[in-house]
């Protein structure tokens, strides 16, 4: 083994990279962290952190389209995927408008943020766990893949992730479709009490429960609503006593530390002032930016590193892994440090460590491996790209429900998260949305414009706006995309960014398993709207919706959920997976991959929590390997 300056080199400062950096530096390991985004974004000094963040906020205020990446710098030397670049793909003509080269036939519909702290800067913050059957889809339902370990073995790591993120929620509310499953274990509580559910949730839950039976493929199902656990600050739960996670050298395990007494949890405030962001303040802008940082972001984790063991190099874009010809060990990461975000000037350097960890996002990890000819003996690198293909349904309620208040979603319908139907079509979760029709049709701005164009003005206009805005109901159906080898990230020397790094080339389609789910979800949506007396305004536009698909003669529009997973799947065999159960690449003993790319299935929960949980597991394996 080479004598390296660093124990570990990590690529990416998002939640996965930050968790690994925190655990390793606090265990006394020397870590080099490479981050592609701008220097300003990493600031740990309160004044600088505040200045940068206020800059993001101001950019958000001034953005015409307030999409997930709107507050954050999109720079030419480390471009970000942006949903504004999604367009209808013409037959045999790839869409190259944005950073992604979209080969089609339909465009991949999600983005992520390539900036210090990663996509946790704009994530919604929903922290549902995956369900036990999600980990054995192949065995239980004959579709997708099995994880190399069952749900139960991940439970302690879920607890670590919930501690790190700071989850607010009520365990007692969490009822899932398969009765009798022990999801949380006895006496477990989340660090903080549930975030209050919205007024809209209360009205709609009552309305839904009055007449909650729906029929799907001749089977009757009961719709029901539960509160959603979230990674934003609420009132600490006095019964929670976990204080953190430490590496135990003797047992070679990560161990959760606990307080003797209860009442021990302290919410983590903003990065510039610990007293700011102690509670969610109801800004109703979790996506794209929480102004007070009551919502978790990865910079909070990074801040807890032992800084004496951490070296950070920003504006440094990993471009290639160097591989030792005989041992197949990784011998370095080549990276390009650019001068400013849009310059053509850069310096190429090599970072060396004992172990290497890629934490650059599902798409960037896959791209970097492909560019290096690394970890791909299974031919699975870049394949199995997945997202929640999301159907939106929107309508007007009879009475006002007062949306556009509170976090994006505080209640969900879990009825179709699991069940035998998964043999035939995808499962889904249905969050009730608190932000009106902003997602599907850019309300309320679009409503104002429609009314003005029609000639409305004055008191009539104001009354009309009151009528429309206060009654907007949105529910969405996040359908679990199942792995397909042809949905993939590839690279092509024809498509590079301005400092010579590959742009991701995407091939994407909706399989019949997904189309059947759209048909099923729409059937349920139609019954739900009818039973709740909601005037349906859902409209799928065959011409302008880029992800418009048809099944049995009917058309559907789906949106991305920003849940990008699967591109370097974990598995039990090196023949059909990229990493093992410790997230070590089968092909290179000193190369670990972390992030959503490891997930063989997506389940029906937003993936960040699960990804954080498996990252704790990976960090444990890394520490074990370092101390061998």
């Amino acid at each position: 083994m080479e004598n390296n300056e660093y124990d570990v080199v990590i690529v990416g400062s998002g939640i996965a990279g930050s968790i690994v950096a925190k655990l390793l530096t606090n265990a006394g390991k020397k870590v080099l962290l490479l981050e592609a985004g701008l220097q300003a974004g990493i600031a740990m000094d309160p004044e600088e952190a505040y200045k940068t963040y206020q800059g993001y906020l101001n950019t958000f205020y001034n953005a015409s389209a307030k999409v997930p990446n709107s507050p954050y710098p999109n720079i030419k030397d480390a471009p970000s995927i942006d949903v504004l670049d999604i367009e209808v793909i013409k037959k045999n003509v790839p869409s190259t408008k944005g950073y992604l080269v979209q080969m089609g036939p339909i465009p991949f519909a999600s983005d992520c943020a390539r900036t210090p702290g990663g996509t946790t800067l704009h994530w919604l913050g929903t922290t549902l766990r995956m369900l036990p059957n999600d980990f054995k889809m192949k065995t239980t339902y004959g579709v997708g893949a099995d994880w190399p370990f069952p749900y139960e073995s991940l439970r302690p790591y879920y607890e670590m992730a919930e501690n790190e993120i700071g989850v607010s929620g009520e365990v007692g509310d969490q009822h899932y479709p398969i009765k009798g499953e022990d999801i949380f274990g006895e006496d477990y509580v989340f660090p903080m009490r549930g975030i209050p559910t919205s007024y809209l949730d209360g009205v709609m839950t009552e309305t839904i429960m009055k007449n909650n039976e729906v029929v799907l493929n001749d089977k009757t199902y009961e719709l029901y609503c539960i509160s959603t656990p979230q990674g934003r600050n609420s009132i600490p739960n006095p019964d929670y006593n976990i204080t953190g996670v430490v590496w135990d050298t003797a047992s070679k395990k990560l161990v959760q530390t606990r307080a003797d007494g209860k009442d021990s949890y302290q919410p983590v405030g903003s990065n510039w002032d610990p007293y700011t962001g102690q509670r969610c303040e109801g800004n109703a802008s979790c996506v794209p930016i929480c102004p007070v940082q009551a919502k978790y972001n990865a910079l909070k984790t990074l801040k807890k590193c032992d800084m004496s063991n951490l070296t950070i190099r920003t504006q440094s874009v990993a471009s290639k892994l160097l591989i030792n010809d005989t041992s197949k060990w990784i011998s370095g990461v080549e990276y390009k440090t650019y001068k400013n975000g849009n310059s053509y000037e850069y310096e190429t350097q090599v970072a060396k460590g004992t172990i290497y960890v890629l934490a650059a996002s599902a798409i960037e990890n896959a791209k970097l491996l492909l560019a290096s000819g690394a970890a791909n003996s299974s031919d699975q690198v870049g394949r199995n790209l997945m997202d929640h293909m999301t159907l939106l349904s929107w309508g007007l309620t009879k009475e006002p429900i007062y949306p556009y208040r509170g976090p994006g979603s505080t209640t969900n319908i879990p009825t179709f998260r699991d069940g035998d139907f998964r043999k035939e079509h995808a499962a889904w979760i249905s969050p009730l949305d608190n932000w009106g029709w902003s997602w599907p049709v850019y309300s309320p701005g679009s409503d104002v414009n429609t009314a003005i164009v029609s000639g409305m003005f004055g008191k009539k206009l104001r009354a009309e706006m009151e009528r429309v805005i206060t009654r907007q109901f949105l529910v969405h159906f996040e359908c679990e995309q199942i792995a397909d080898p042809d949905n993939r990230v590839t690279i092509d020397p024809e498509y590079k960014d301005q400092i010579g790094n590959y742009r991701p080339v995407i091939h994407y389609k909706a399989t019949e398993y997904m189309l059947k789910a759209f048909e099923a979800a729409k059937t349920v949506s139609d019954q739900l709207f009818k039973q709740c007396d909601i005037q349906d305004f859902t409209y799928y536009n065959p011409v302008t919706n880029p992800d418009y698909v048809t099944y049995k003669g009917k058309g559907y529009r789906f949106d991305g959920a920003g849940h990008i997973v699967g591109t370097h799947r974990m598995g039990a065999n090196k023949e059909d997976s990229v990493v093992d159960a410790d997230m070590r690449t089968w092909d290179h003993e000193n190369l670990f991959l972390v992030g959503c790319g490891n997930m063989p299935t997506l389940g029906t929960s937003n993936p960040t929590l699960t990804m954080a949980a498996i990252t704790f597991k990976a960090a444990e394996a890394i520490l074990k390997q370092l101390e061998q």
């Binding site: 609420s234 109801g282 003005f457």
Partner: protein, 145 residues
């Protein structure tokens, strides 16, 4: 020529009729001067002068009532053929903070009246406080009390 300072007053007065928000509510946004300057900077000078002349005539017509003023606005200001659509742009400006689809400033976004009309607040600003979203909006609760 009408002098500039008197037009601010006219602008406020006609904006109240155009938006359905009172002059006090409009002033409380703090955006009056900014918006007045925005329309001056982005509208053809002739259109502006004729627009304010027309506004002045409408507002000072003898025996005027709110109804006659509204009727005059509908006939003389609202049609797209009048003053290059200035009246509609003014309404959109107050409601959304945008001038023809572009955000005027961070403050204009925050002060958009569409949020007020919908009994809520602009996302990312004027936050209502922990847990308040579990109840009907304060503006509604106040009406009921």
């Amino acid at each position: 020529m009408i002098n500039a300072s008197s037009n601010v007053k006219l602008f406020l007065e006609i904006s109240a009729f155009l938006t359905g928000f009172s002059e006090t509510e409009l002033k409380a946004t703090g955006m009056l001067e900014t918006y007045y300057n925005t329309i001056l900077a982005n509208t053809d000078g002739n259109d502006i002068d004729y627009f304010f002349q027309n506004v002045s005539d409408i507002l000072s017509a003898p025996e005027r009532t709110d109804a006659t003023i509204e009727q005059a606005i509908a006939m003389q200001l609202i049609p797209d053929s009048c003053y290059s659509g200035l009246a509609k742009n003014i309404i959109a400006l107050w409601y959304t903070g945008n001038w023809v689809g572009t955000v005027v400033s961070a403050a204009s976004y925050i002060q958009g009246l569409m949020w007020e009309a919908g009994h809520t607040h602009p996302p990312g600003a004027k936050q209502p406080g922990y847990g308040s979203w579990a109840n009907p909006p304060l503006s509604i609760v106040k009406q009921q009390n």
